[in-house]
């Protein structure tokens, strides 16, 4: 590759999550950690972290990317499908990435993991649908006949049918609409889970992992990192803390909806996009952290953890101002910006002979990531 062909470095202070772009699990080492966002005239542009570890990013059209590096078949397929998306969202990109991995473009390990995950996702969807239905039955029963849930007859299908039949006129919709809407809501909610106490849903699991990784980085840094690396650790932990507290607010907002299934159906009837957007916020907020958690967890000894921390410091997602609006929490954006560190990296660490090791690593991360 020739870095001379790169466009000028640009400052990166996104206002919205969409402007921040969505993390794309590329396997090409030079594209690792890049984000995609919509550009003018239906194009897609990529935001690449500065390969030297310095401030700023490169913003490139996909066509330009091919001028300075040779993307893998996996990445070509992925971007081809991203350009055809009607909307670039973390969920949509994840779905495409699973598809491409399941086709074998990122190797055998990722293919097997993606195929297994697709089955698991279907199970999650069925589970979310079931949980919504159960919550609806419980709410309808509690409203009409308090205490019936505990002594309920085992005929769940009949009770579900009754609940839907009872609720449809109250929302002013046919019973078929209620059944279809519950399925659609399950599709929207299964990533974050219907029950606030359940930790099985993907985004909730990510939240747990992020919390663990944050604690682990802080503990490791306390005993191992020299001054330079300790600064990176502090920055990662501080942004993780803010993200975790914002996530809690966003999760609470979604679960306030799921705690009232009748109200949720009403909201869905009035403005399904609003519910979809609300349920999608935790995904947007946590987008990019899964890759960071994987990098840290794959680094098992001090030497690899030092490298992982330096790489992570580059990838820590910037929090756009929109996060403040979503969570209703004031963020000290200036402080978070000041905290961001320049990470002095070997400029050529992702080129030359090491590319093949990094490719294998990135494909392994794909397998773990799905």
């Amino acid at each position: 590759m020739s870095e001379l062909r790169l466009p000028p470095i640009q400052p990166y202070f996104p206002t919205t999550f969409l402007e921040r772009g969505v993390a794309v699990p590329f396997t090409t080492p030079l594209l690792f950690g890049s984000r995609a966002r919509p550009a003018l005239r239906g194009h897609v542009e990529l935001i690449l972290p500065n390969p030297t570890g310095g401030r700023g990013v490169y913003v490139l059209a996909w066509e330009s990317v091919r001028e300075f590096c040779r993307p893998t078949v996996h990445d070509r397929q992925l971007i081809l499908r991203i350009t055809a998306l009607p909307a670039i969202t973390p969920i949509a990109i994840r779905r495409l990435a699973h598809e491409v991995a399941a086709e074998g473009m990122a190797g055998e390990e990722a293919m097997e993991a993606a195929r297994a995950k697709m089955d698991a996702s279907r199970d999650d969807l069925v589970a979310a649908n079931y949980m919504l239905l159960m919550a609806l039955i419980a709410q309808v029963d509690a409203n009409t006949n308090p205490g019936v849930l505990e002594t309920a007859a085992p005929d769940l299908e009949q009770r579900a049918h009754n609940a839907v039949a009872r609720i449809a006129p109250r929302i002013g919709k046919p019973t078929a609409w209620v059944a279809t809407s519950l399925e659609a809501l399950a599709e929207v909610l299964h990533h974050i889970g219907v029950n606030p106490k359940a930790t099985g849903a993907r985004v909730r699991r990510l939240l747990v992992v992020l919390n663990e990784v944050r604690t682990d980085i802080a503990a490791w840094s306390h005993g191992n990192a020299d001054d330079g690396l300790a600064c990176y650790a502090d920055m990662v932990c501080e942004v993780a803390d803010v993200t975790l507290s914002l996530a809690k607010v966003m999760f609470d907002a979604v679960h306030a909806l799921t705690a009232d299934p009748i109200g949720l159906l009403r909201s869905w009837a009035i403005d399904p996009d609003l519910v979809t957007r609300l349920a999608g916020r935790p995904e947007w907020l946590l987008d990019g952290w899964d890759q960071i958690c994987l990098l840290w967890r794959e680094a098992t000894h001090a030497a690899t953890r030092r490298s992982a921390l330096a790489e992570i410091a580059q990838l820590v997602p910037v929090l756009p101002r929109e996060a403040t609006d979503w969570a209703g929490i004031m963020l000290d954006s200036e402080r978070l910006t000041r905290l961001r560190r320049v990470v002095p990296l070997n400029e050529d660490w992702r080129t030359g002979a090491i590319v093949y090791e990094l490719l294998a690593r990135n494909e392994h991360l794909r397998a773990l990531g799905v």
Binding site: V73, E108, A303, T304, R306, A310, V355, Y356, L359
Partner: protein
């Protein structure tokens, strides 16, 4: 050694050594593990001596012992006893045991926490080695800075007069390891740029040290930190006094000369590539090419430049031989002799081999004829494409083609198949 421990006569040991030279890898690893387990290795240590080349290739996990903990970081400086000259900034291998024994005796009870950290650990437990090393190296440095001639020095074939300068220099290097080791670890990862402030601190601290120590530290920096040369030259030129500049220059030149000699000696450069596993061959080539670049970047005599040119040619030949060997044995051979269709584990092995070949080739073409590698890779791609799709699916073939010839070639193959 307890009185009832059976001992072997020199004749018996020679016979065992001969049979070991011809033994298979498993046997070699078994013997090495047994010797490592001995509390007092004594003459058994000599059994390992002729196996060092094969051990470098096999890279087994070795039991962490005090001696290994002390000297593994200094490995690039250790030379066979016959090649050592007292004025060289190197350590003769026969000095390792008496120096380690001195440290062990001086440590007394202080050895306990170190022993606890390395108990049951191997050289693969890098964190344990680092933690134990951080305890050991500073103490060992203090001990060796003043310890008198140890027992076993003369018996190891070393002159008493050589002890003091060598021990003091080893002490000085050990004392700097807590700062050097993280730099070396970062360098092996390749991602984090070397911390210039730390290197400057190390080099600045050399001003008051004897010449041998200076050259040893700089030699270690040159072998373990890729591209440290320009930084050393910058430090050199910004030195406070002319005397300091000359001193640094001399130390760097001597370190460079010794490193060059090591590479030239007994196929030093070749054996590190030809005997390495395919996975290590790429890493070793990268290290050696960077080292040669470093040595070349120092303005030297015409004679040195000629020697470097010869070394490059030798390294080029070794890389080509290793590449062709690896290509045939680990990629094309298995594909040409398929008994059943390629399954998932085999595909993963083939992809690993293809990546390791590309990793070796990417560096090797910098010192050799790139067209040779282009030709070999084209030939390999043709072979992959010629395998019956019932034995190697189009997707799996495309994955191999992608590694060998790039994503455009793989896309073309996939499109053809549609």
């Amino acid at each position: 050694m307890p009185a009832d421990t059976p001992t072997a006569s020199p004749t018996e040991l020679r016979a065992v050594r001969r049979s070991l030279t011809a033994a298979n890898d498993a046997k070699v690893l078994q013997v090495v593990a047994m010797v490592d387990d001995m509390a007092d290795r004594g003459p058994a240590d000599g059994l390992i001596q002729p196996l060092r080349g094969r051990l470098a290739q096999l890279r087994p996990a070795r039991k962490l012992r005090l001696e290994r903990l002390l000297f593994t970081p200094l490995d690039p400086l250790i030379v066979p006893a016959r090649d050592w000259r007292p004025q060289d900034p190197t350590i003769p291998r026969n000095a390792v045991t008496p120096i380690a024994a001195t440290v062990r005796i001086a440590l007394g009870r202080d050895i306990r926490p170190i022993g606890a950290l390395i108990a049951g650990k191997t050289t693969l437990d890098t964190d344990a080695a680092m933690q134990a090393g951080e305890l050991l190296w500073p103490i060992a440095a203090r001990v060796l800075a003043m310890a008198p001639l140890p027992l076993g020095w003369v018996e190891a074939g070393l002159k008493p007069v050589t002890y003091e300068p060598l021990a003091r220099s080893v002490a000085a290097v050990l004392g700097r390891l807590p700062i050097l080791m993280p730099l070396f670890q970062d360098a092996s990862g390749g991602m984090i740029a070397p911390r210039e402030d730390a290197i400057e601190l190390i080099v600045a601290g050399l001003a008051g040290e004897p010449h041998l120590t200076q050259a040893m530290v700089i030699g270690l920096l040159m072998t373990r930190l890729p591209r440290v040369g320009p930084l050393l030259q910058r430090i050199e030129s910004s030195s406070r006094s002319q005397q300091e500049r000359v001193m640094l220059r001399r130390a760097s030149d001597q370190a460079a000369d010794v490193l060059l000699e090591r590479l030239e000696r007994d196929g030093g450069a070749e054996s590190q590539i030809v005997n390495a596993s395919l996975a290590d061959a790429g890493v070793e080539t990268r290290r050696l090419v960077m080292l040669l670049d470093e040595l070349e970047s120092r303005s030297g005599s015409q004679e040195r430049r000629s020697r470097l040119k010869i070394l490059r040619a030798r390294l080029d030949a070794s890389c080509r031989a290793r590449f062709i060997g690896g290509l045939n044995e680990e990629l094309l051979g298995p594909l040409q002799n398929l008994v059943t269709a390629v399954d998932r584990p085999m595909q993963m092995q083939l992809e690993t081999a293809a990546r390791q070949l590309r990793s070796l080739e990417t560096t090797a073409r910098q010192i050799g004829n790139a067209m040779v590698y282009d030709g070999l890779l084209r030939q390999a791609t043709t072979t992959v494409r010629s395998v019956d799709p019932s034995a190697l699916s189009v997707l799996r073939a495309a994955r191999l083609v992608e590694i060998l010839a790039g994503s455009e070639a793989a896309m073309a193959l996939l499109e053809e198949a549609q």
